[in-house]
Subunit: 444 residues, 2 copies
């Protein structure tokens, strides 16, 4: 928040007199001011009143709204919206082997990924998420979906050592991803990544080749790591933990984004910190699948960047990062029986600025002049957000449904709770038709 | 769901062609049909198409909606909406002694309880909660608030052994509640109750007298019980657990509704089951205050009726029972590392039919002909509820904001997300003014 005047007085979008989430030494606070947006960036964030010299293509009245950075969902499988609520309350292996893997084998196609990723994008945008790291297959289709949605996205193409959607021959898994990266469209919002599924679905050789591919192409490397207690047994590396195992393969460095990290010892966390790895926690998925509780506060204490993710819809069952913040903070507290653990300011940081760092994105995640203009307006004149004493309520009270307006890369993509970039009714219709086929085949 | 025709063909409200939540042997399912409401009751729930013989004062098109019983919030402190987000992330005793108790001493008044309870009622109605058990002070004012709101409510007047809001002289605590019950208005929706705060804020004598008062007046008896690990030390009854202590005083029987029951041993649960006590669990409050995880599945296995509560806004920080269902199911799973534990059907039951039983209300909580007409319409044509494979998604996906229409006792109280019974803007304005005074006194 500055009070100086810039020379520019015409904006693409000008948000008048809202409350603006800012961070200071003691955490977050709300300042009152106006926001000028142009050329995809936050050009002006000012506290003082503006006179008639300001013009804008579009003026938004900010009264009753809190402007905050768009949320950053550091891990999901967008297309799995199709499997939302297909099978709940089941042991992990029954869930995977009886429902999810067969459904993926039968129903995942390029068309499915395109439409179901668009549904995910619509759901996320409506809930105030402006950036996502999506990890799945048929990622060309997912890229088109996010391109059209207006969202910012990091798209990790999956690698496993068994036949996968779009990659029937596992010996082609690395080449497929190399081609995906080479053919990636030029975009200010989108970038490709490598997603090696896990240490138990990829051999040591595959992991090493996948890591090398990401290094060669200079893209982020995502991997599910230490999600369940049984993973150590599954990888078959003796006494080595999954983290120690990856480290022994030379996989771990600052380009690695390790997702879950539930079953990590102090020694594992020291390795992750020492190697400069980033971590993503997905508390609601870990709760629903009963995977366990990630030691988020202990990782933050080691200065590891920890982002927040929803994981896929099949294990959550929504993509609301506001709800995820709430669950993350509360789960840490009850697990440790320490109410002061993982305060809301830490979780808000994880879902915004630190989440962006986690994905290697340095110019989003905070409302500061010069940064890319990814921001949302939260409607706070509702009973559930009254009174509003502090930004803590963005974690413990606000939900995706409270988001009114969403701007990504300086462009308005959601206005008064309506997606402007896509035909949401058409998307829902397409997905419902696909779901109907699953229902027939499952007799549900 | 029946297919017979009744003689009545004119209804107060007729909901056409919606999906209707019904329960069968294997849990819940969705049937398609129409609902006729008259004289405050569900007169007709039918699967077949209706001809021109049906007339109604009000016809609601049900396409795109799921009709389900209104949710039952078995424990809150409604007026504490004023303290929503006043102080978060603090150890329990700091939170209580530095923030909540001083704020209550300074800011709780009859007027505060009236307006802040109205705010709670508005928030709950908008989120699909049609029945609440509210436990606080100045309950005459709360009764007026709920009377005007159109909600169904059980109103427990508080009893503690220190000066409390509206009861400056603790020696008058029992008499005050007796007068509250004697003066309670005649109402089909409202009933009074006794709320003895806890075994550590009421002496053995006070507990016994409070219990006797509830027996004499034939009203429910609520008490916070075994909420925190330290409670056993606080009550000073040696080796006796809080449950065993209350049992030794002759307090426990089927008229008792014990709230929290986090720190209960197998022996404690056996006592609660044997005495026929009902239990209320408040998982989000227990998470946020780091109280612990209540053994809900173990209590259900003992055939104890367990209801679901949000607790007050100061420790949650919302009154959304949909979110509470989700948290309840997920917390049980991750705590036990068992994903099949506490399936969504159990939690849906706790928030509806079993919750109603918990409060001694036998004619609400399910959509069956002859029951009181407390029902809600959930809008399920949104991205976040697409696809919709089964009622499980009402737990793992739906949130209060998805509720479109609310009917209580046969009367429309929320329509298209707008409260019809109260001026919500006026209420929010009043509460904001009160919050401004707290802010001034706290320098927040």
């Amino acid at each position: 928040m500055t009070t100086k005047r810039t020379v520019q007085s015409h904006y693409d979008i000008f948000i008048k007199d809202c409350r603006i989430l800012q961070s200071g030494e003691d955490g977050y606070f709300l300042a009152t001011g106006s926001i000028g947006i142009g050329n995809g960036r936050l050009l002006s964030i000012r506290a003082e009143a503006h006179g008639a010299t300001i013009t804008a293509d579009r003026v938004i009245e900010g009264d009753g709204f809190i402007a905050m950075p768009g949320l950053v969902n550091c891990h999901t499988h967008g297309a799995m919206t199709l499997f939302r609520g297909l099978a709940d309350d089941l042991p992990l292996m029954t869930w995977l082997e009886k429902y999810i893997f067969p459904a993926e084998a039968q129903f995942v196609s390029e068309e499915m990924v395109y439409w179901c990723t668009k549904l995910a994008a619509a759901e996320m945008l409506l809930a105030g998420t402006t950036t996502v790291a999506d990890a799945y297959f048929y990622m060309d289709a997912a890229t088109r979906a996010y391109q059209e949605s207006g969202m910012r996205a990091v798209l990790g193409h999956g690698i496993v050592d068994f036949p996968a959607p779009g990659v029937p021959d596992p010996s082609k898994n690395i080449d497929t991803v190399a081609r995906f990266i080479d053919g990636f469209p030029d975009s200010s919002r989108l970038q490709p990544a490598v997603f090696a599924h896990s240490p138990y679905t990829c051999s040591a050789e595959t992991l090493a080749r996948a890591r090398q591919l990401a290094r060669d192409k200079q893209v982020p490397f995502f991997i599910h790591l230490a999600e369940t207690k049984m993973e150590q047994t599954l990888i078959g590396a003796g006494d080595m933990s999954p983290v120690a195992y990856l480290d022994s393969l030379g996989i771990l460095d600052s380009g690695v984004i390790a997702v879950h990290c539930v079953w990590v010892s102090a020694a594992d966390m020291d390795i992750l910190a020492h190697r400069g790895c980033r971590v993503v926690t997905c508390p609601e998925s870990n709760m629903k699948l009963a995977s366990g509780v990630a030691p988020v506060a202990a990782m933050l204490a080691r200065k590891i960047d920890v982002g927040l993710g929803t994981d896929g819809c099949a294990s959550n069952n929504d993509l609301d990062l506001f709800g995820e913040m709430d669950s993350c903070a509360k789960l840490a507290k009850v697990h440790a029986l320490q109410p002061e653990l993982l305060p809301s300011k830490d979780v808000l940081n994880m879902a915004t600025s630190m989440g962006a760092s986690c994905l290697g994105l340095t110019d989003i995640g905070a409302l500061q002049e010069g940064m890319r203009a990814d921001l949302i307006l939260v409607h706070c004149r509702s009973p559930r957000l009254t009174p509003f004493f502090s930004p803590d309520l963005l974690v413990y009270g606000a939900r995706g449904a409270d988001v009114d307006t969403v701007i990504v890369d300086g462009k308005l993509v959601v206005e008064q709770g309506v997606v402007l970039t896509m035909d949401v009714k058409e998307i829902m219709g397409k997905v419902r038709t696909m779901a109907g086929k699953i229902r027939e085949s499952h007799g549900k």
